[in-house]
Amino acid sequence: MDCMSNDEFHATREAIDRGDFNQARHHLNNLRMAGEDPEAIDALFERLSHVEGSRTLVNSKLQFYAITCAVVGYCILSIQSPNGWSPVVWGITSLFAIPLIVGIFAGGSVNSPLKSARFWRCFLIASIPMAIYTLVGMYLARSKMQSADNSMDFVIYLFVAIFYGATAGVVAGAAGSMIHTKARSI
């Protein structure tokens, strides 16, 4: 392997890391034409595909539906406290039903073969509204009572919001990673 090929390998890696996939593909072509080690080239191609795949294309309409479902769902739930809905109904709705629907929509919106890419997209779309809903709900519930000890309130808000958000996100992510609808093309 000569010095120029070394530079090409280096340039390929740099291009992948900074997300310039066209440039990376070009360097890989150069390497291939120069007759460099096919295994090394294939490995770089695989890395390129992985990184490129993680930058997913998104069907904005389905994603909009997913976000709308999450927002509307949690808005409806916020009409009354979890206790008002009864813990069982609230738990099933907020931690399972809504994330499931969100996951189905959001999973379909991600045009990526990578399950992880779909999972994280669904996770974010479900977990952020759930965490916000939890934070607002907890804050409102807490503001109606004046406790003698408010020292840990922020930590409790954060802990519960993260826990509920993560739970909803995992459910949505699991649902979304199993759903894969290819984005529409001509």
Binding site: R25, S81, P87, M145, M152
Partner: protein, 765 residues
């Protein structure tokens, strides 16, 4: 023609025409040797060569390398490409365009006149046909023209298309050459740069008057050394399957007047054998024809970009677009205009767009959520219409039945529970609704159901002496309903009178208890108003407790499961349970309280004032203590006389108890008067200030009498001076009314103080 020359750091170059790669200097020799050398090798004594296209001079380079070449005519329509060949490609083309044997013609080869039967080798190196015009170089008519120019024994070589990606189009070209009356020999070559651009293996076709076969290639011998192609191995690229060969025979022919090549390039999967008929062609791979206009673009990238075309078009405002289009199209024929109008009507037809509704619904929801959140942060209760009556600290005034203000008055907004009485000390001492914990005090008295001991009062028990009450027990107050009303752990209610005595209210009865001995001194007249007031107070505070329970239940429904992690939540949960316990106990106490059996309220003599329920100070400072039957025992501090004038034994502790109550009353009334006095001073200051404002407004009004709308500051508002005067007069009137009330209250308190002092003097002596 869009020409792009990409020069790399390693000094290699690549030429793109209309986005399609023409050659890459790193492997261009494969292409040009494969195109130019086979016809030269197979032609019989090649001397005169015609090159159509190939302005880059690279095919010409190969031709000129071949021995025996006397003249070459190169016809290319692109001056730009020829310039590049003379400059940028001069080195790699071995300055082929400057060779004296070469004559260059800048013209369209299709229309340029060519001498018949004059060329030994003809090479067609046209660009990939992306338009109907460029596809004319692949028609029967053109090949027939070349056939006439080709000598016997000569070879025509054409740069075709990919037999791998566009098999039917390749077959069409072979078929077209055959239709022109030439024998053909197709073959393919793998060119790395073409493959990397997604073009697939590239095809060439040799054609001749005489028969050409694979055997011709197998025995090919090239007199010049090749750079990148082993010509003897070209034969491997000339092998095609039976089906492919059948396709070469049966594929449709591309005529200038009936072009089919473009269709087949758009639909490579089309079976080239069947006739096309009238069925409209389908173009599933239309994307293949989207030109690549940048050297870094790949076919996948084009397809990926095209996937977003739908999204991009979706963002267009079609209605507006159609309006503009119809306005600008007025000069077009009427038929076109009609079509456009019809399309506009279709596009602008109102439809129920679920997406738009969903978007607006989400916006409305989000707005409501944000507004309610902000409103609730600013004013938590009214925002959700969950306001509740607060609990004021209205005093029982030592069990006064007539002057009590609790239970029915308008309450001010309550302060939320902020003490920690229900979190840690509940059960160990009294706690009020605010959660504040009070110093524990033990009350000792007999439990209900035991002997109603004490001193018999007139009418209820005749005679009898001082008897020990059976079953005296210590009881703890659980909840402070008001300053002077305690709910006990056993369900009774206590009204503390002084350190020496208290009232026990239960089961429709009221008894005066000696705090030191725990003895019941009197069964008092059960004033109905007292019971009503207590019931109302209990109901009111139960409502408060219900509210506190609810907000805690809501909170714990969020965070209750974290109580093992956070001590705060654990304490919240304990508070919640204690409140539930208190609520239950208050319910029991309310039932235990019962109703008074007394028929009516006591009538207070005009010269008497109430000391506590069932006990009055008469005008001569004697004390009247009303028994359960409504008859009073009169006590002057020395003797006790019943309603019938019969003297009774006075309990020894009664006098100190009355004195202690009187002392406390004096003390508290003095404090009230002092407080009233402070309030009166503040009130006077307010009145003075308001009067000053009024005078100032009136002065301003007189100074600006010409302008009735002259505005002055009133509070934080600016109002006309007349309005300001009117409002200030109302304020002044209101203040004066309150001052009057305060004055009356003060006077009453003074009278009461005098009476208490007087009674204390009598009883204290």
């Amino acid at each position: 023609m869009n020409i792009y020359l990409h020069s790399r750091d390693d000094k290699s170059q690549a030429l793109y025409i209309d986005g399609n790669l023409q050659f890459d200097t790193r492997d261009e020799a494969i292409y040009h040797e494969s195109l130019a050398l086979p016809p030269l090798c197979l032609a019989k004594d090649p001397r005169k060569v015609l090159i159509c296209g190939g302005g880059d001079g690279l095919a010409l380079r190969e031709v000129l390398r071949f021995p025996g070449i006397e003249s070459v005519m190169l016809i290319d329509c692109s001056e730009e490409v020829l310039d590049l060949a003379r400059t940028q490609f001069k080195e790699i083309s071995n300055s082929s365009l400057f060779d004296p044997r070469v004559s260059v013609v800048v013209a369209d080869a299709l229309v340029h006149p060519l001498e018949a039967d004059s060329y030994d080798v003809i090479i067609c190196d046209f660009t990939f046909p992306t338009t109907p015009e460029s596809a004319l170089g692949f028609t029967v008519e053109w090949y027939s023209k070349l056939k006439r120019c080709l000598r016997q024994g000569g070879i025509l070589a054409i740069n075709a298309v990919s037999p791998q990606n566009t098999a039917s189009a390749f077959a069409c070209l072979v078929s077209t050459l055959r239709a022109s009356g030439l024998n053909t020999l197709p073959y393919r070559v793998c060119i790395p740069s073409f493959r990397d651009h997604g073009y697939g293996a590239w095809g060439f076709v040799l054609a001749s008057h005489s028969k050409l076969s694979i055997k011709s290639l197998r025995g090919i011998k090239c007199p010049v050394q090749t750079q990148q192609v082993a010509l003897e191995k070209l034969v491997s690229g000339a092998h095609f399957s039976l089906r492919q060969r059948a396709a070469f025979r049966n594929a449709p022919v591309n005529y200038a007047h009936n072009p089919i090549l473009q269709t087949l390039l758009l639909d490579p999967d089309r079976d080239p054998v069947p006739a096309l008929g009238d069925t409209p062609p389908a173009y599933p791979n239309l994307l293949q024809q989207v030109p690549i206009t940048h050297p870094y673009h790949s076919r996948n990238m084009i397809e990926t970009l095209a996937e977003h075309v739908a999204g991009s078009l979706g963002s267009l405002d079609l209605r507006k677009l159609m309006e503009e289009l119809t306005v600008r199209a007025k000069g077009l024929p009427q038929r076109v205009l009609d079509e456009l109008n019809e399309l506009r009507n279709f596009v602008t037809r109102p439809t129920f767009d679920l997406e738009i509704w969903g978007m607006w619904a989400a916006r409305v929801f989000a707005t409501i959520l944000i507004v309610m959140t902000i409103a609730n942060c600013i004013s938590p209760d009214p925002a959700f219409a969950k306001g509740h009556a607060g609990l004021g600290h209205s005093s029982f005034s030592r069990g006064f039945s007539e002057h009590a203000t609790f239970g029915g008055g308008t309450r001010t907004a309550t302060a939320p529970m902020s003490g920690n009485g229900f979190r840690s000390s509940y059960g160990s001492g009294p706690v009020d609704i605010y959660g504040y914990h009070y110093t524990p005090r033990i009350y000792i008295y007999g439990g209900y159901g035991g002997y109603y001991g004490g001193y018999p009062t007139s009418g209820n028990r005749g005679g009898g002496g001082h008897q020990e009450m059976a079953g005296n027990q210590p009881h703890k107050p659980l909840f402070v309903l008001d300053d002077d009303l305690l709910a006990m752990d056993n369900g009774d209610f206590i009204i503390p009178l002084s350190d020496l005595a208290f009232l026990v209210v239960r089961k429709g009865t009221v008894s005066l208890e000696d705090a030191k001995t725990g003895k019941t001194l009197y069964e008092l007249y059960a004033e109905p108003k007292l019971f009503t007031n207590i019931q109302e107070e209990v109901a009111s505070q139960s409502q408060e407790i219900d509210h506190e329970i609810k907000v805690r239940r809501d909170w714990l429904s969020w965070a209750g499961w974290t109580q093992d992690l956070f001590s705060t939540v654990r304490a919240d949960n304990r508070e919640f349970l204690n409140l539930q316990d208190l609520k239950r106990r208050l319910g029991t106490s309310s039932e235990n309280l019962g109703k008074s059996q007394a028929p009516q309220a006591l009538v207070l003599p005009s010269d008497a004032i109430e000391l506590f329920v069932g006990c009055q100070i008469l005008g001569d400072n004697r004390i009247a203590i009303y028994g359960t039957n409504g008859k009073a025992d009169i006590c002057d501090g020395q003797t006790l006389v019943d309603a019938y004038g019969k003297k009774k034994l006075m309990p020894p502790s009664l006098k100190p108890i009355i004195v202690s109550i009187l002392k406390k009353m004096v003390q508290e009334t003095e404090q009230d008067i002092k407080s009233d006095s402070t309030d009166a001073l503040a009130m006077n200051a307010d009145i003075t200030s308001t009067q000053t404002d009024l005078n100032e407004y009136m002065s301003l009004q007189s100074q600006n009498s010409y302008d009735p709308d002259y505005e002055v500051d009133y509070g934080t508002d600016s109002v006309p001076v007349g309005k300001a005067i009117e409002l200030t007069q109302q304020d002044l009137s209101s203040l004066q009314s309150e001052q009057l009330k305060l004055q009356l209250s003060g006077e009453t308190a003074q009278i009461r103080l005098q009476r208490f002092k007087s009674a204390l003097q009598t009883w204290g002596s």
